[in-house]
């Protein structure tokens, strides 16, 4: 069965590129352009009985940023708390990476990155 990955990023280009790479790698990809939309999508998928196996999320986003999104997912009453989250930051956002770790991020990547790096990181979380 195909594994589901949710990508949350405000850049359509980044979402599209990740989408192409992951689809090519045999994954099902869902997209959201900010944290709020991401949470909504998780709830909708859950209702449909779809399980999300991994979330890749940008940090710097409008409406709800990646850290707030992460906090909501890892909340102890959250239905999604066991989903691993990889956060994407840029070089200048190193402190955000640290914060992300404290909030329960499973992994982190620095943007921009080559697509094959993403695939090898994902293998640490999805068998």
């Amino acid at each position: 069965m195909k594994k589901n990955i949710l990508i949350v990023d405000d850049s359509p280009t980044l979402r599209a590129s990740v989408n192409f790479v992951l689809t090519g790698g045999g994954y099902n990809v869902y997209q959201a352009d900010n944290g709020m939309a991401g949470l909504q999508m998780l709830d909708d998928l859950k209702k449909k009985g779809e399980r999300v196996n991994l979330i890749v999320s940008d940090v710097n986003m409008p409406k709800m940023n990646g850290l707030e999104f992460l906090k909501a997912i890892k909340d102890k009453n959250s239905m999604h708390k066991f989903i691993p989250v990889i956060i994407l930051t840029t070089e200048r956002e190193d402190t955000l990476k640290q914060q992300g770790r404290e909030y329960g991020a499973a992994g982190w990547m620095t943007k921009p990155f080559k697509p094959d790096l993403l695939l090898s990181v994902i293998k640490k979380f999805i068998r």
């Binding site: 359509p12 066991f82 293998k123």
Partner: protein, 697 residues
């Protein structure tokens, strides 16, 4: 990504950038008339940030690089290091034109005018701050550099309890390792796995020890753990030196059973059970060949005889035999020291020297015989890891036990007696000492609490310390409780901290609001004190409100012999254990107070202590007049209190072998036992904590 996708991606990129560029121009125009509007500044920064990121994703690196340069300048504006000026705005608008040129170029238009790019870059550089801007680079998968000869790495993986909640799966880590080479051995350690009904399915209990044989470098192996390395206990070491031609040389000296246990193939008890079932080779031979039983037995006897001669490595001795030996040697040591004193008076150098030699030998002998009974505290201490872990878990606390000095040795029977009190005190530290995670957070402490269990030798005593970084003992709470339970009638102000701590050791005392399964209601601290005192030991409490508590148990290395001060009161001699003595002095120099209808008090440098006249309790008389001004007083201390003993003469310091009174006579409260003096008379050895009790000081 196939070509079709690349084209699609470029289209998406183009429409994203078109939109961003449009936004950027709009923001810049507004910014021109409102130069310090933070919202607009953040917006323009974010736009260039996005353009850079997206261009990088599609692989338009020149464009990404150019956008990155502008982003750096805008970051300085955002940080307040640079002011927006008309000049800067024009420059950014020109940069936007360059970005548009890049887009045109990437979609089949003419090449971007390099001169123009350089000119703008140069202008932008004038705004560059002192601080180096962040480098722009694309992160990619590192090339793996294989090494020629396979290496062996010993890897210990101990992931936190809540690792699943983070989304990590230990099995995936192991799988990744196995892709790098092969496991020479792998063992899942399950000692932390609780009973079935206590297992929480989302908790990680297992840790792993493995040896990986691989041609990858140690850094590449470490990279497997990149996301868990910092927060978990991962130890990776190159142990190739242990292996010769891929064979683990450490196995040579190990027994098969041990290796099987190490590898986790079988557990220790099973090996022992099988080993005990196993028929001896002699029996096998008799059963399976024509060799007669008698023949085998004859040879076996020969072998045993030879073995007896060759090595008499261990023998079992009853402890009471050993105790007698210890007592005798102790008495010998005392006689020898007396002989050396007499020898000194003869003024004969030869006699003095040889008695000194004898003295030294007899002390060595005493030390050696004591060693026989000593065993390290290790196995007692190690048990507490589990105790702390289980108890902390059941209370949802995160506590680490740190053990030090477990190699310290103590008399075997004393270890048996100290084990229970220690367990109780450690439980108390977990229960009452370390706060809940929330309370610790509120107090600004790390969530994880620590308990230290240490042992060391100090001045002929073994000291065991139990320290925690919990909330400490609140003396006010303790006092209130003691007062409400009628344990004291004194006012808070009149009591020292030590006196308040002493309430903790009274039967039935508890300050914990919640009664826990294990440490219950403080029942037992009185028992702890009793056990420690029966070993002639003492407990000291140090506590710092909010920072933690430290309990220090001091017990003498052995209970059979003590160093003591010999005192004379009337015609009788007494011995006071040396470690109970604070100081001695002549009363004349001091203020002796008689409070009407109460006990006598001694004022020493402003501190007032009760004065105890032993002859009134233990019989006999003094040669001094009562309250004589030139009498001698010895200040002693028990666990929590100090008091003075009134004596006629101090005879000196000596070692005393304790003879139990119960065995020969009956036990006397306030007296540990008796000791034989050099002239054949007897001294009573005083029990200071016992005296404190019977005299109700």
């Amino acid at each position: 990504m196939n070509d079709n996708n690349v084209e699609k991606l470029k289209e998406i990129f183009k429409s994203e950038v078109d939109e961003l560029v449009e936004d950027a121009e709009e923001v810049l125009i507004s910014l021109e008339s409102d130069v310090s509007n933070e919202e607009l500044i953040n917006e323009i920064f974010r736009i260039f940030h996005s353009i850079k990121g997206s261009a990088g994703v599609v692989g338009f690196n020149e464009m990404a690089h150019f956008a990155h340069g502008v982003e750096n300048i805008l970051d300085r504006v955002r940080q307040g290091e640079l002011k927006i000026s008309r000049n800067l705005i024009s420059l950014i608008l020109e940069s936007i034109d360059i970005l548009k040129n890049y887009i045109e170029y990437y979609f089949g238009g003419p090449a971007v005018n390099e001169n123009k790019v350089q000119k703008i870059t140069a202008s932008l550089n004038r705004f560059k701050g002192v601080a180096e801007p962040v480098e722009y680079k694309v992160e990619e998968k590192k090339e793996s550099k294989k090494i020629k000869k396979a290496r062996f790495y010993g890897i210990h993986i101990e992931l936190k309890d809540d690792i699943f909640l983070r989304g990590h799966d230990p099995i995936l880590l192991l799988r990744e390792l196995s892709d790098m080479g092969e496991f020479d051995s792998i063992r899942a350690n399950i000692i932390r796995v609780p009973e079935l009904e206590e297992i929480e399915p989302y908790t990680n209990y297992i840790f792993y020890d493995l040896v990986l044989r691989t041609k990858h470098t140690i850094d590449e192996v470490k990279d497997v753990f990149i996301f868990v390395y910092d927060d978990n206990k991962i130890e990776i070491s190159d142990i190739s030196a242990r292996f010769v031609d891929d064979v683990d040389t450490e196995l040579a000296d190990k027994k098969l059973g041990e290796i099987l246990v190490d590898e986790g193939v079988i557990d220790e008890e099973e090996v022992e059970r099988i080993a005990s079932d196993h028929r001896k080779i002699g029996e096998e031979i008799v059963a399976k060949t024509s060799v007669k039983k008698e023949q085998v037995q004859k040879i076996l006897k020969k072998k045993q005889k030879s073995k007896k001669v060759q090595i008499a490595s261990t023998i079992r001795v009853k402890t009471d035999k050993l105790d007698k030996l210890i007592n005798l040697i102790g008495e010998m040591v005392i006689s020898v020291s007396r002989i050396s004193m007499i020898a000194q008076e003869t003024n004969s150098k030869e006699i003095v020297n040889s008695t000194l030699e004898l003295n030294r030998i007899s002390r060595d002998l005493q030390e050696q015989i004591m060693m026989v009974r000593m065993v390290p505290l290790e196995s007692t201490f190690k048990r507490f890891y589990r105790v702390v872990r289980d108890l902390a878990n059941s209370q949802k606390k995160n506590i680490e036990l740190h053990i030090a000095g477990e190699e310290t040795e103590l008399d075997k029977t004393m270890i048996e007696q100290i084990a229970d009190p220690l367990k109780h005190m450690i439980r108390n530290s977990v229960d009452h000492g370390i706060e809940s995670a929330e309370d610790r957070k509120k107090a600004g402490k790390p969530e994880k609490g620590n308990i230290w269990l240490r042992a060391y030798q100090e001045e002929g005593n073994v000291v065991i310390e139990i320290e925690d970084d919990g909330k400490g003992i609140d003396t006010d709470v303790v006092y209130k409780k003691a007062f409400s339970k009628g344990l004291t009638k004194k006012t808070r102000e009149s009591l020292s901290n030590e006196e308040i701590y002493s309430f903790l050791f009274l039967p039935g005392f508890s300050t914990a609001a919640v009664v826990t399964e294990i440490s219950g209601r403080g029942v037992g601290m009185d028992v702890v004190k009793k056990n420690v005192e029966s070993l002639k030991g003492r407990i000291e409490i140090n506590s710092n409100s909010g920072k933690g508590s430290k309990f220090k148990i001091k017990i003498p290395l052995t209970i059979a012999i003590i160093d003591g001060m010999r005192l004379r009161i009337g015609a009788r001699t007494y011995i006071v254990p040396l470690d109970a003595i604070v100081e001695s002095f002549q009363l004349s120099a001091l203020d002796l107070k008689s409070v009407k209808g109460a006990k006598d008090l001694v004022n020493l440098r402003g501190e007032v202590y009760p004065l105890v006249k032993l002859h009134k309790y233990l019989g006999g008389e003094t040669t001094q007049e009562d309250n004589a001004k030139n009498a001698i007083v010895v200040l002693v201390e028990s666990t929590f209190k100090k008091f003075c003993i009134y004596v006629d003469e101090i005879l000196g310091i000596s070692q005393a072998v304790i003879k139990n009174l119960q065995d020969n006579y009956r036990s006397i409260p306030g007296v540990i036992g008796a000791s034989l003096n050099g002239d054949g008379s007897i001294s009573l050895i005083l029990d200071i904590p016992g005296l404190e009790k019977i005299m109700d000081i």
